[in-house]
């Protein structure tokens, strides 16, 4: 059996994706909600999505460095738990917008703010209900050569260039040219 997480392209069976899976360009990000560089790149990703519209399929996988970022694991759990209530991307945005407040109390507050069942969400976070999935994301990243966050794959090819809007947009717009 193929371990689907090992594919370096978005997989609708397991990944959180935005856009159509058959879009010509697939952008996969490995990220950590407490990583400042991931927070900085988030508006850039959003702008790329806005510009490319239907041509882009975006997926996010967790790559929490839990020893240097003590809240990263629970934040990833919160995103997954929100996903169980149909609000993965709303929580994803909220977490990146509030990187300096990712303690459990704040996570519950964000859940409530998004109109989610905060008790259920925080229970899932505390019981590490989604730890296997988060670990699977992490391990797939390591296998794919992810060495830090954020890491991007464009149509399955690792992107090692600068993370500004212009270079990233150029690479995403011309996936054949990234090597």
């Amino acid at each position: 059996m193929i371990n689907r997480a090992q594919l370096k392209v978005p997989d609708p069976e397991r990944d959180h994706i935005q856009g159509a899976i058959d879009a010509p360009i697939a952008l996969l990000e490995y990220g950590d909600y407490e990583c400042p560089s991931c927070g900085e790149v988030q508006p850039i990703v959003r702008e790329i999505q806005r510009r490319l519209e239907d041509d882009l399929c975006f997926a996010f996988r967790h790559f929490p460095l839990t020893n240097v970022h003590p809240h990263a694991e629970h934040a990833a759990e919160a995103a997954e738990a929100a996903g169980n209530q149909g609000a993965f991307w709303a929580m994803h945005e909220t977490l990146f917008a509030n990187q300096d407040a990712l303690d459990d109390e704040s996570l519950a507050k964000y859940a409530a703010g998004l109109g989610l069942d905060e008790t259920r969400l925080i229970q899932e976070v505390i019981s590490a209900a989604h730890s296997d999935r988060i670990r699977e994301d992490f391990k797939s990243g390591v296998r794919a050569g992810v060495n830090g966050t954020p890491s991007f794959f464009i149509n399955g090819q690792r992107y090692d260039g600068a993370r500004g809007l212009e270079p990233l947009l150029a690479a995403v717009s011309n996936p054949a040219g990234i090597i």
């Binding site: 929490p64 460095l65 020893n67 240097v68 390591v142 296998r143 050569g145 060495n147 830090g148 090692d160």
Partner: protein, 197 residues
């Protein structure tokens, strides 16, 4: 361009005999080409792991060891690399391996670095004589006074099973280490399967 250069260097580091006479050859520093290759005996050493403890490589005989040489504590790339390996300890242990970091920094520096980054594996001080172990593994940069960013997977019999020298500013990740450890595990498993048949 940057990516293809890295790939070429990596290939050469993995199989030092390839690429002889290749135009890229001149681009490599000497130390890169002298990293101990697969099959070499891993030189034994005893280094400080903390200000009052010592660690000897041969104590790990019987299990694979991952030696991660890195240029310096505190530099951003090393931080990321060691932070990544720190998160990978479970996987390394599942493959029966121990991870050891080595740089020329002193034991007190390592202690502060490990505490700050919450590292859960030993950092050895290749401090006196400075870089001696790195030299013996062929990964010392004389000009810079630090080691290369070099990885060695040593098998249970103390031989180099895999080595890799990364460009000094590039975090090599952990995929190569995992593949090498799995390769070792498969090798161990194969005779047992043959016997069972």
């Amino acid at each position: 361009m940057a990516i293809s250069t890295v790939t070429t260097e990596s290939n050469t580091a993995t199989s030092p005999k390839s690429g002889q006479g290749h135009p890229y050859k001149k681009m490599y520093s000497k130390s890169r080409r002298t990293a101990l290759p697969r099959g070499a005996d891993a030189p034994d050493f005893t280094l400080r792991s903390t200000p009052d403890q010592w660690l000897t490589l041969s104590e790990f005989r019987g299990q694979p060891v991952v030696l991660a040489f890195y240029p310096a504590d505190w530099s951003p790339v090393c931080g990321d690399q060691m932070a990544l390996y720190n998160e990978m300890l479970k996987e390394f242990h599942e493959l029966g391996a121990e991870l050891i970091g080595i740089s020329v920094d002193g034991a007190w520096c390592h202690a502060a670095f490990a505490r700050d980054r919450k590292l859960h594996f030993p950092l050895l001080a290749d401090f006196e004589p400075k870089g001696d172990v790195a030299c013996r593994y062929g990964v010392y940069r004389d000009k810079d006074g630090v080691s290369e960013r070099a990885l060695f997977v040593i098998d249970s019999e103390g031989k180099v099973h895999w080595s890799f020298v990364s460009p000094i500013g590039v975090n090599p990740g952990a995929d190569g280490i995992l593949s090498a450890l799995e390769d070792l595990q498969n090798k161990q498993a194969t005779p047992a399967i043959a016997e069972a048949k």
